[in-house]
Amino acid sequence: MNWWQRLMRRGRMEAQLEKEVQFHLDEHAAELIARGVDPDEARRQARLALGGPEQVKEKCRDARGTRWLEDLLQDLQYAARMLRTNPGFAAVAILTLALGSGATTVAFSVVSGVLLKPLPYASPEQLVTLHGKTERHGEQWGFSYLNFRDYQRDAREVAWLETWSYGGGTLSEGGEAEYLTTREISSGLFNMLGVPLEQGRSFLPEEDQPGTGPVILLSHGLWQRRFGGRSDVVGKSVEFGGKASTVVGIVPAKFQLDDEAVDAYVPVGQNSEPRMQTRAANFLHVMGRLNRGVTMADAEARLGVTTQRLADAYPRYNAGRRIVVRPLREDAVAEVRPMIWLLLGAVSIVLLIACVNVASLLLAKAVSRERELAMRVALGASRGRLARQCLTESAVLGLAGGALGVAFAAAGLRPFVALWPEGLPRAGEVQIDWRVMVFATAASLLCGLIFGLAPALRAPASDLEQRLRMGGRTLAGGSRKLHGWFVTSEIALAVVLLVSAGVLGKAIVRLAALDPGFRPKNVMAARVAISPGALENPEKIRAAWKGLLDGARSVPGVESAALTDIVPMRVGENSLTYWATPAEPPADEQSLALSSCVTPDYAETIGLRLVRGRFLNDDDRLGHPLVVVIDENLARHAFGDANPLGKPLWVPALDAGPVQIVGVVGHVRHWGLASDDYSTVRDELYYSSAQLPDRVTHLLAGFTSVVVRTNVPPLTLLAPLQKALGGATGDQSFYGVVTMDGAVRDSLATQRFLLLLFSVFAGVAVLLACIGIYGVLAYLTTRRIPEFGVRIALGASSRDVIGMVLRESMTTVALGIVAGAIAAVLAGQLLEHSVEGVRRIEPISFVMMIPLLVAAALLASLVPAMRASRIDPVVALREE
């Protein structure tokens, strides 16, 4: 008979047990009677000898081994009955818990989907990314194509390396021209990741070379949108980037290389731009799959050999560089990791407060049930048994709250993920799956344990008679201390969230007041994909640029227009090495400057602040001396306090010889208001697109953006601009529009999002804490009615009573504030460490937040205090 059968045949087993014990008693009595003992006396002696039939039976049940399960069933029934008979209590407790656990479940879904789940590739643990690292500039993801090919060849015995880079071009197939976001990939990328294509095939190695017939892979989305999902598209030729390209395959919808939505993929080897042929241009991401049994350290060591060889052969580009190998997943989510953990931390605090609230409710109930429990002990229930029953009750409560919480989470998860600033990486994988369910169940049980512990430990032990006699009427003292601790811990937790929200709010106020380095109002920027036909030669490109400027200026409402290759606070950058002394320093000591190639109107259009000298003008063109304008940072780094005007600067990417500095402008916070301070590259320089040598015009033509300053709200000009910038052949596209106001605002999106979350959580925490304080005080004052009655009868005024209650509650609140303040300092350090732009905690954050909390706590205490003061001593004493 297994335990299940035994459980199911409980009734029969009970009957048999009864029969067996009865048989023993009868036999014993019969024997005694046979020896001449009086029958009644014989039965009594038999019972005495056995030691009480009920106790024996209880022990036999224990010995059966299914006891815990039987008890559990019984306890569950009991718990359900208790909740049913107290619907108000059950609703409040379950709802409180559901709010806490719902928020926690959402946060954990994000943790699980983004940070914990393995990447959706075959054997994801073997996938890695490579970064170059130098002492001076830290880690950089970029590799030059030639270096990549060397690493790829040399690393074969340890890893399979592939590469990708950002790209784009105009699709002018059937209907209007559309700019496509693409990725240029090496031929083996999909095979290396183990991603099968939805249709067709990936690129062949021979297609990943210059001069071969153009081929293209379409994303699932583009295929559906532009080609109606027809399967005969594979093998057809489409007009992309001015060339007829053969579609060889369709990439599955769920494939995601980085955070951006991609329309198509082309082989990087077919790129004929000059940057493919120099080791100076580091523009490729490198990822790979380690061979079986190879560790990341092994791979780093092997790649180090190649790096050494490259440094010897091409010291200019490789000196002082080493290769870092990291898991691919870490790379994909590195930016959001601290935010996600902060989120989980914050919601856990809310959940904890909810637990404490329910704990104090349960404790209050347990105290009122003291008499019942004492009675059960007297009837033979063991203390452990009662504790177990208390825990079962709280576990049922916890699970009910958790189940409702999961329902809340299921409803709120998608909206929440959509709210994430700048899009959450791996957002599609954030789901309520088994991991989340396991977590939610474990968390609910843990909560049940937390808030069930206090009542369980109170299960009566020694002074049974006293408890039975008191009937649980006046015994308020025992739980008072514990209730005080509940309030203290709730306040402490709420302080942590409040101060954190204060710190974030303070940071945002400070950051928003920072000068971005340009005047963002009424400025708009957009990328332009120049007509493929214009890309043939430098003259045509220059003509297209001029056409863009003229077109933009012709639109009514446009005050000024300029072209640039990079736009502040938008993704995309171009860092060039420079030095200020004639002798070229070694590669690892060269500085980097964020370099913008602009037309002369740029300074006026975006609103740069001129500090010294002049900005670029129309005379700065080919045939005239090459000039640059630098920002204050570069001036300070390269020249200290000396006047940089007229000084030479060496920028090898612009010219072999020195270029002349003609002006200094204010620093532009290119990386965003907050992030700029954390960037490794903070020097900036500007050079004129009119001075670009022919060999690089083609390269820059791919990165043209137009910036316009308007005297009307800029977005109202979208349609006319679109028309004016269409180009001579009408196949120029205009995309990626940003207003600079929006860009400045969005650069703080992360901080704002966190502030929003922490404010909401802090609000909920304060609310829960107040409910908790109110509940505890209301309960304690009710228990103390007789005491107050005596005090009032002895002459205490109602003010005295109110003062007494308030003093007591304020003591616990004050304790909580002190404890919370200490914890908040730690939380502040965590925020400073993980959120850009947050400074060390300032007293102002406390000063602003604490009175708020004290006021709320006072309010919550006032009602019970007033009630206590209105007690009628006669009634109170009679009750006693």
Partner: protein, 116 residues
């Protein structure tokens, strides 16, 4: 209700004694109690309160099996008998008990000799 002689029985020996008695053939609980007392010449006072939990425990562990059948007087009772597993356990425990008691005996003898 506690039995004054409960402490007379060393911890864990009750199970061994029950197994030994049960090896004599199918017996019901009361008979086992009787037999234990008789065989030990009334030296071992079996705490009756512990007998039944022990029987149930041994049954649960598969060392004893139980059947309901009639006694000589025609009443239905639960008869316990040793299972094969119980027999092996009994042999193992008997052997280990012997070794232990011999060893204890030797030690006691030695210390008596030392005191002389």
């Amino acid at each position: 209700m506690t039995d004054p002689n409960k402490s007379d029985l060393p911890q864990g020996t009750l199970d061994l004694l029950i197994l030994k008695v049960a090896a004599l053939g199918p017996l019901h609980g009361y008979a086992i109690a009787q037999r234990l007392q008789q065989v030990s010449r009334e030296v071992v006072q079996v705490p009756q309160g512990s007998l039944y939990p022990a029987l149930h425990r041994l049954e649960n562990r598969g060392l004893l099996a139980a059947d309901w059948s009639e006694t000589e007087t025609g009443r239905e009772a639960k008869f316990y008998r040793l299972t094969r597993k119980g027999k092996a356990q009994l042999e193992a425990e008997t052997a280990s008990w012997r070794r232990l008691s011999e060893a204890v005996g030797l030690i006691l003898k030695m210390s008596e000799g030392g005191a002389e």
